[in-house]
Symmetry: C2
Amino acid sequence: MNFQVDQTDRLTSARRGTLKTAHGTIETPAFMPVGTLGPVKGLDPRELDELGFRLMLNNAYHLYLRPGHKVIAELGGLHRFTGWPGAILTDSGGFQMFSLARLCRVTDDGVSFQSHLDGSAHFITPETAIEIQEALGADIIMAFDQCVALPAETEAVRDAVRRTALWAARCQSSRRRADQALFGIVQGGLEAELRVASARELVGLQFDGYAVGGLSVGESKADMYRMLDVTTPELPAKKPRYLMGVGMPENLLEAVTRGIDLFDCVVPSRHGRTGWLFTTFGRVLIKQARYQRDESPVDPACGCMVCARYSRAYLHHLYHVKEMLASRLNTIHNLWYFSDFMRRMRLAIGEGDFSAFRDAFYRQRREQAVSEACEEDWREA
Amino acid sequence: MNFQVDQTDRLTSARRGTLKTAHGTIETPAFMPVGTLGPVKGLDPRELDELGFRLMLNNAYHLYLRPGHKVIAELGGLHRFTGWPGAILTDSGGFQMFSLARLCRVTDDGVSFQSHLDGSAHFITPETAIEIQEALGADIIMAFDQCVALPAETEAVRDAVRRTALWAARCQSSRRRADQALFGIVQGGLEAELRVASARELVGLQFDGYAVGGLSVGESKADMYRMLDVTTPELPAKKPRYLMGVGMPENLLEAVTRGIDLFDCVVPSRHGRTGWLFTTFGRVLIKQARYQRDESPVDPACGCMVCARYSRAYLHHLYHVKEMLASRLNTIHNLWYFSDFMRRMRLAIGEGDFSAFRDAFYRQRREQAVSEACEEDWREA
């Protein structure tokens, strides 16, 4: 993997870069769609490609449980198994062990937990987390870290930071494959001092890239941004920076402003399945009765294939009758919004004035809020 | 609509034809995929088109209930609503009223029933069935008929035949749109005399095409073929003939042999969703453990995009983790099998020797059965 910062914004820490992998080149800042069990739910690789994505995320925890990393390795690794020709990043599985698995217990040795599927017992160490990810064969793999649920006592956060550094070193020294990039993960809860300490310890281990973990776990936006403010300056400018599990468009905007290059989140697909559609003028909840006879596309300003071909009325119908196609089309539309939003952010950085883009984003939000309020009044009248 | 028989087979009643509609030309014999609630479950129009389909079926019953034929009419009709640019046939809804709805009661006036969704009461007459289908706006619409569940008493079948003819005449005289073709439906259960009588009555009403209804409802294959043997010779050679709700590949083969031009069935999509895949060498049940590490495509002889891109192992995985994509890919593969099977039948008719094709089909089946049995022995050993 090779990363290069091509341009840095004048007034903010936003930067535009190029990430080269054996499975294609990714322009950053970039958003990674999430393929929990292989595919982004309901989508095929061709669709992801048409949406402009060149890098996606697969969950090591889920694929470790089903079909198993050894099966995938036997079948030639994730790219071949899933048919996705682009680049792949796998998370270490830690987050799911803490948030999804049952009876999760952490010691310095590793994490024991029971599968959320069948209750089977598992024990994962930093070494086995790397072994699993090497078997899966992604382009970028992640160090095994301890993510603490927020709010948390300072002592618990401090202990997780210590353990994360310990594990990070074990991950570094246990890797066997030279063809995968390994990223370290900064923890530290909502405490600036611990974030800085965690970042420094990880940077000392010389990873190929750095992630900010343990955010977007229920804290306020202000807290998230505050943590980014103190963390990203600690990370080497020449290495890619990845904010894990984030997020909503405004989170992406603020994180890019603070120098983040990579994101992943289930929001576009998960919200899509519930009928929440992202648009340039705010959200559209497609299940609302107001869309039943609405012939217009979800977003007239959108360039996606869903907006080109289908009406709000049809998407409303598909959602109401629980058609599988509803989830798929809604996900495609939302992923396009995210892909296009990243593209526009890259463009704005390229034009040398990201602040103007950011201002315009919030201006449009405010205007939209006003016009939505008016429309609601009108509809209620 | 314009239909032309281009070629008739030498030894059988199989024929190759061309059906021209305002939404494209269909080569017959043709199979129609079923879009119950608009789309074929999970598929978009582009996929159907890539699979070679130019004509699909939509269910009037389901669309009448949700979102309602008036909503669809307001939105410009089915083609515009669903984004399907090809031709559409709607069934009359009668079959679902008898098989799916609750408390269905039939009189000469029409059918009263309760929605299977919310128990709401409805009353549909031949006139309203036409009104609904004219609002939906398909290229081909179907007369309202009474389908009798089999086995049935002769008197019940005779009564349904009488009522079907009565309703057919009312459908003919109530239609308003000249741009839709209207097909009559032959009933008559498993009684040759009643089938012939029904066919003659309908032919007297001069429909644009004729369907054979009330089959594939639990009778034996031999009974189905026997009914086709007596019915199709009664139908005008110059009009398209449609066998409703059929079926499995061997049923299609036998019906084409007997002069049928059109088919519809949920088998490729419904079986696909349960992991039953059609191949040139018999069925593949993708959930079986034997496929977990099988790198080969579902059918090495298949030209579909699923076989081009994915392994049995991946489809096995997607099925086991209940990924939405499993249903979609399995449906695409199966529909390709059906589309390709129809194409091969048309080719065989074009080559002037359909019997040879039919013989080869059964020969392959027998050989396959032998080799499958051997393989099973080997696996069990």
